[in-house]
C-alpha cells in the first residue's frame, strides 16, 4: 500500500495534465514560450600572487559586491574543531593600528557592510559598498587593511570564544542543531567533514591566538583565494582592486586536497534522547563530491524525489497525502572531498515510526525504479524554467561566481549544466541512483523521546490512532 510503483506515478501525472487542459487557459501559451536563459558574461584572470578573479560587470545599480572565497573551512581544522570558525570571526576585530571600533565606524560611516563566515570547505569574506569612487575607494582601502593585516587581539578571541560557547549551550535547548551534528559525525566519522564547524565545549577553550595566526597565514593566502566581484566597475578598476586585495593577503599556495570521504557500507543508527514534541529524523549517506560525473543525473533525480518542494514525491506523500510533517526534503550537497545525500523531516512523536518507514520505502522505490518519463519532464521544465531566477540579481550572481571559481568549474558551467539537464534520461537517473545509494546502508539519525522504529510490514501493524490517516 505504501509503495508507489512508477507506473502509477506516471498515471497520476498524465491525469493531472489532462485535467489542466482547460484550466489554466494560459498554460498552452506559457508552455510554448521558451524561458530565457541569460548568459552571465564572466571575466576571469589570475593575479600575480595566484588568486583567481571572477568578475561580472553590472551597471544597473551603483553598488559593488566583493566576495573572497578561500579553502579555509572547518575541514582544515586539523583535529581542533573551531579554529577555522574563530579565525574567520576575528577578521574585522582589529588590523594593524586599527581597533575594532575604528573598523566598524570606517565601514558604517560610508554605509558599507562587511562580514566573514566559514563553512566546511570555505572561508568567505564579503563586502558590499556603493560603487561611486567617493565611497568605494576608502571602503576598499579599509577592506584591504582588515583582510591583509588582522591583529587577532586576545581580547576579541576571549569574547568571541565566550559567544561561541554560549551559542553551543543554546543549541542544546532545541533538537535541530543537535541532530544535524550527529548526522554529520555518524556519516563522516573521522573524516574532517564529520567534525562540528563551530567547535565543541572541549575544543574551544584549547584554541590559542597563535593557532589562528598560523591558520590565517596558511589558508587565507592569495594562492588559496577566489576573488569574486559583481557591480558597477570597469574592467580596469576591477583589475586594480583585485591586484590590491591579492597583494594584501599573505603569500602562499592553494591548500592540498582532502582525501575523499567514503560511504557507509552498512546501516548505522544514532539516537539522541530529548524531551521534544517532535522526533527529528535524518537519513543519508556519503554520496557525492564536486566533479562527480553523475552530478546532473543525481540533481535532476533528487528534484523529483525530494528536492522540488510541493512537486516532489516526498512532500506529496508524507505531507500532502498524510499530514505527517510540515516539511520534508532531500538533497545532495556536493563539497570538494565528499557530500552527503540527506533526507530530513520532523514529525509528531506518535507518527515517527510510520513516517520513517514510509520515507525509507519511497526512497527505496525511487532508487530501484527510477522516475517516470512524465516526472522527468516536469523536473526538467522546472530546472530550465527557473534558470533566470538563479542569476537575477547581484546577490545571486556573486554566489554563483564564488562557487564556480572555488570548485574550478568552467566559466560556461551554467550553460553546460542546462545542456546536460536537457539530455539526461530516466535510465541515466535510475542508474546513477542505483550506483550511488543503497537504502539498506542509509544512516538513520534521530532525536526525540524515543528512537523511531522501522516497521517490518505495514499491513501487519496495528497502527491504532493512525488508521484514520492511512485509510486515505
Amino acid at each position: 500500500m505504501m509503495r508507489l510503483p512508477a507506473i502509477m506515478g506516471a498515471a497520476v501525472a498524465v491525469l493531472m495534465l489532462s485535467a489542466c487542459a482547460s484550466f489554466p487557459t494560459t498554460e498552452k501559451q506559457v508552455a510554448a514560450s521558451e524561458p530565457q536563459a541569460p548568459q552571465l558574461d564572466i571575466q576571469s584572470w589570475q593575479t600575480d600572487q595566484g588568486a583567481k578573479v571572477m568578475f561580472v560587470q553590472s551597471d544597473a545599480l551603483p553598488m559593488l559586491d566583493i566576495r573572497l572565497v578561500m579553502a579555509a573551512g572547518s575541514s582544515q581544522d586539523d583535529g581542533l574543531p573551531g579554529v577555522a570558525s574563530l579565525t574567520s570571526a576575528l577578521i574585522g576585530q582589529g588590523a594593524e593600528a586599527l581597533s575594532v571600533d575604528d573598523i566598524a565606524r570606517g565601514f558604517e560611516d560610508r554605509g558599507a557592510s562587511f562580514s566573514s563566515s566559514s563553512y566546511r570547505d570555505m572561508g568567505i569574506i564579503s563586502l558590499r559598498t556603493l560603487s561611486a569612487a567617493e565611497y568605494r575607494q576608502p571602503v576598499v582601502a579599509l577592506f584591504n587593511q582588515v583582510i591583509g593585516s588582522p591583529s587577532f587581539p586576545e581580547e576579541a578571541l576571549d569574547r568571541l570564544r565566550t559567544r561561541a560557547m554560549q551559542g553551543l549551550r543554546m543549541e542544546q535547548q532545541v533538537p535541530g542543531p543537535q541532530v544535524s551534528k550527529a548526522f554529520m559525525s555518524t556519516v563522516f566519522a573521522d573524516h574532517p567533514y564529520g567534525q562540528p564547524s563551530e567547535g565543541t565545549m572541549e575544543s574551544l577553550p584549547k584554541i590559542q591566538r597563535q593557532q589562528l595566526v598560523d591558520f590565517y597565514n596558511t589558508y587565507y593566502a592569495a594562492g588559496n583565494t577566489v576573488i569574486a566581484m559583481v557591480g558597477d566597475l570597469s574592467r580596469s578598476e576591477a583589475e586594480e582592486i583585485a591586484a590590491q586585495i591579492s597583494a594584501a593577503l599573505p603569500a602562499g599556495p592553494a591548500a592540498p586536497e582532502l582525501p575523499r570521504a567514503e560511504a557507509l557500507s552498512e546501516r548505522k543508527r544514532e539516537h539522541i534522547h530529548f524531551p521534544s514534541a517532535q522526533t527529528h529524523i535524518l537519513l543519508g549517506n556519503q554520496a557525492t563530491w564536486r566533479g562527480n560525473p553523475d552530478h546532473v543525473a543525481l540533481h535532476v533525480g533528487n528534484q523529483i524525489l525530494g528536492g522540488g518542494g510541493f512537486a516532489s514525491i516526498l512532500t506529496d506523500e508524507v505531507r500532502q497525502k498524510r499530514g505527517y510533517v510540515y516539511g520534508i526534503g532531500s538533497g545532495f550537497s556536493a563539497m570538494a572531498a565528499g557530500g552527503p545525500f540527506q533526507v530530513q523531516f520532523k514529525t509528531a512523536n506518535e507518527n515517527a515510526d510510520e513516517a520513517l518507514t514510509l520515507t525509507l520505502d519511497l526512497i527505496d522505490t525511487f532508487v530501484e525504479d527510477g522516475p517516470s518519463q512524465a516526472q522527468l519532464e516536469q523536473a526538467r521544465a522546472n530546472i530550465l524554467g527557473s534558470f533566470a531566477l538563479s542569476t537575477a540579481d547581484n546577490s545571486d550572481i556573486i554566489g554563483q561566481l564564488g562557487a564556480i571559481g572555488f570548485y574550478g568549474l568552467p566559466l560556461d558551467y551554467l550553460q553546460w549544466f542546462n545542456r546536460q539537464v536537457r539530455q539526461v534520461t530516466v535510465e541515466d537517473i535510475r542508474d546513477a541512483f542505483r550506483r550511488t545509494l543503497d537504502v539498506d546502508d542509509l544512516a538513520i539519525v534521530s532525536i526525540g523521546p524515543e528512537a523511531p522504529q522501522v516497521l517490518e510490514d505495514q499491513d501487519n501493524e496495528n497502527g491504532g490512532e493512525k488508521d484514520a490517516d492511512s485509510g486515505e
Partner: protein, 442 residues
C-alpha cells in the same frame, strides 16, 4: 565628519535618482488595487497578492485561523485539485509560497518573465474560487500543528517569547501568536476557514503587485482579463488597535527548558500609522539606529565589547505596523552576568538617550546606513514587491521609501531625546526574565 557626511549624502541623492524604477498604480472597479514596478535588469517577474487580513483580525477564540486559511489557499479551487497550484508553478520553473503576519497575509510566485499570464490566472482563481474540503482541511490542520511544534513547542525561547507578547501587547490582536494558541488551533473547523475566506478575500481588500521585467501595457490587460469579473464583495471593517492609554509596567519571570538565560524588554510606542506626529516615527527610527544600527552602534560598542555583559543583544523599532509599534530590546548575558545586571545596563542606555544628546557622528552614520541600504534593497525584485505590497496594505504611501531619506535628514538630536523621554517610559514597558527551569529532564 559632519561635513563629509553632508557631501556624501548629496552624492547619494543623485545615485538613487539614477537607480529609480517606474511604478504604476491603478484600481479595478471591484476595488482590487494593482501596483506595477518595472525593473528590466533580468528576465524575471514576481507576482504577489496581499490581503488586509492577519492574526490581529482574529477573535480570541479562533487564533491561528488567518494562517490556516493561508495553507488552504494551496489545497484546491473549483478548477484545481489539492496541490495542483504548486505543481503548475513548479512545472513552469517558478517558486511559490505565502506568509501570514500580524497585519496581513501575502502570497507570491516568482518566475522567468514569460510566465506572467499563468501567475495571474492562478492568483485570480484562488481569490475567486477557493474550495475548502472538510477532509483536506483536517489533514492540513495536522500539518500546521507540526509547524507549530517545530517553530514553537520544541523551542523554549519561542515559547517564552509567545508568553511575553501576551503580556507586552495587552488588549490587542498582537497579544496572541500568529500561528495560534495550541489548544485553540487544534479545535479550528472548516466552517471558520470558509467564513474567513468569504469575509476577507474580496478584491477590495487586496493589493496585487507585479514587479520585474514587465511593462504596464503587458500587465494591465492580463489583470483586467482575469480579475475584473470577480465580484466586489464588501470590504470588512478593521479597527486600529493601540495600547492607549499606557498599560503600566509589566514583569514576567519564566522558568523554561533553556540553558542560557534571556532578557526581553518591549515598550509600546506609536507606529507610522498610529503616531499623531509622524515625526515621532522617524525620530524613533534614528534612536534605534543609534543604539543598534551596526557593529559601531552603542549596544555592540558598550555592552558587547566594552563592559562585556552580553554574548549578544539587540534593539529594534518596529514602526511599520497597522496598530501601535514596538521598541524591543533583547539580550543573552555572558556567563556569570545576571539578568538584573543586563536589564540595569539597558535601562542606563535608555536613560542616557533621555539625558544626553546623541552626537552628530552617530546621527550621520545612521543616515549613511539608511541611504546606502536604499540602493542595496533595489537589488532584489522580490524585495521591491514586498515593500510596495506592505505599504499599500497598511494604507501608507507607496513612495514612502523615497521620502524616507529626507524625513530622516530632518530629525535632530533633540528629537531623538524627546521621543526617548516621551515614549521609553516605565508605564509603557514590559520585561521578561527567562531562566533555566530546575534540572529534571536533562
Amino acid at each position: 565628519m559632519r561635513q563629509l557626511m553632508v557631501a556624501l549624502a548629496a552624492i547619494l541623492w543623485s545615485l538613487t535618482a539614477r537607480a529609480e524604477l517606474p511604478t504604476h498604480a491603478f484600481t479595478l472597479d471591484n476595488g482590487l488595487k494593482v501596483l506595477i514596478r518595472e525593473d528590466h535588469r533580468a528576465p524575471v517577474v514576481t507576482v504577489m497578492v496581499w490581503f488586509k487580513a492577519g492574526s490581529i483580525d482574529e477573535a480570541p477564540y479562533e487564533t491561528g485561523l488567518a494562517h490556516v486559511l493561508e495553507h488552504m489557499m494551496f489545497k484546491g479551487t473549483e478548477r484545481l485539485g489539492p496541490g495542483d497550484f504548486s505543481k503548475l508553478v513548479a512545472r513552469y520553473g517558478g517558486s511559490d509560497n505565502a506568509f501570514t503576519s500580524y497585519d496581513y497575509t501575502a502570497y507570491f510566485q516568482q518566475y522567468e518573465a514569460s510566465r506572467l499570464p499563468l501567475a495571474l490566472e492562478l492568483e485570480a482563481e484562488r481569490l475567486g474560487n477557493l474550495k475548502i474540503d472538510d477532509d483536506e482541511f483536517y489533514r492540513e490542520l495536522q500539518v500546521v500543528l507540526e509547524e507549530r511544534r517545530t517553530r514553537t513547542d520544541d523551542n523554549p525561547n519561542a515559547l517564552a517569547w509567545e508568553k511575553f507578547q501576551a503580556v507586552a501587547r495587552p488588549g490587542t490582536g498582537y497579544a496572541h501568536p500568529i500561528i495560534g494558541w495550541r489548544s485553540l488551533l487544534a479545535q479550528l473547523q472548516p466552517e471558520q476557514a470558509r467564513s474567513w475566506y468569504d469575509r476577507f478575500y474580496v478584491p477590495g481588500n487586496a493589493t496585487l503587485v507585479v514587479a520585474g521585467d514587465v511593462t504596464r501595457d503587458q500587465v494591465e490587460p492580463l489583470v483586467r482579463r482575469f480579475f475584473s469579473d470577480l465580484p466586489a464583495g464588501t470590504t470588512p471593517p478593521r479597527p486600529i488597535q493601540t495600547v492607549n492609554p499606557a498599560a503600566g509596567e509589566r514583569r514576567l519571570d519564566l522558568a523554561m527548558a533553556v540553558q542560557v538565560p534571556a532578557l526581553y524588554m518591549l515598550y509600546n510606542v506609536p507606529s507610522l500609522v498610529t503616531a499623531e506626529q509622524k515625526q515621532d516615527f522617524y525620530a524613533l527610527t534614528m534612536l534605534a539606529g543609534v543604539l543598534d544600527g551596526g557593529m559601531s552602534a552603542r549596544i555592540e560598542t558598550d555592552l558587547v565589547r566594552g563592559e562585556k555583559l552580553v554574548a549578544g543583544a539587540g534593539a529594534g523599532y518596529s514602526g511599520i505596523q497597522r496598530g501601535d509599534g514596538t521598541f524591543t530590546l533583547t539580550a543573552t548575558p555572558n556567563p556569570g552576568v545576571t539578568l538584573e545586571q543586563v536589564e540595569q545596563a539597558l535601562r542606563e542606555q535608555i536613560k542616557t538617550l533621555q539625558t544626553t544628546l546623541p552626537s552628530e557622528d552617530e546621527m550621520a552614520r545612521v543616515r549613511a546606513g539608511v541611504l546606502a541600504s536604499q540602493v542595496f534593497e533595489k537589488d532584489s525584485v522580490m524585495g521591491q514587491a514586498m515593500e510596495l505590497g506592505m505599504l499599500s496594505t497598511l494604507g501608507l504611501d507607496i513612495e514612502l521609501a523615497e521620502q524616507f531619506e529626507e524625513q530622516l535628514g530632518k530629525v535632530t538630536a533633540e528629537d531623538v531625546q524627546r521621543v526617548a523621554r516621551q515614549w521609553l517610559i516605565p508605564e509603557r514597558l514590559a520585561v521578561a526574565h527567562v531562566v533555566p527551569a530546575q534540572e529534571e529532564e536533562q
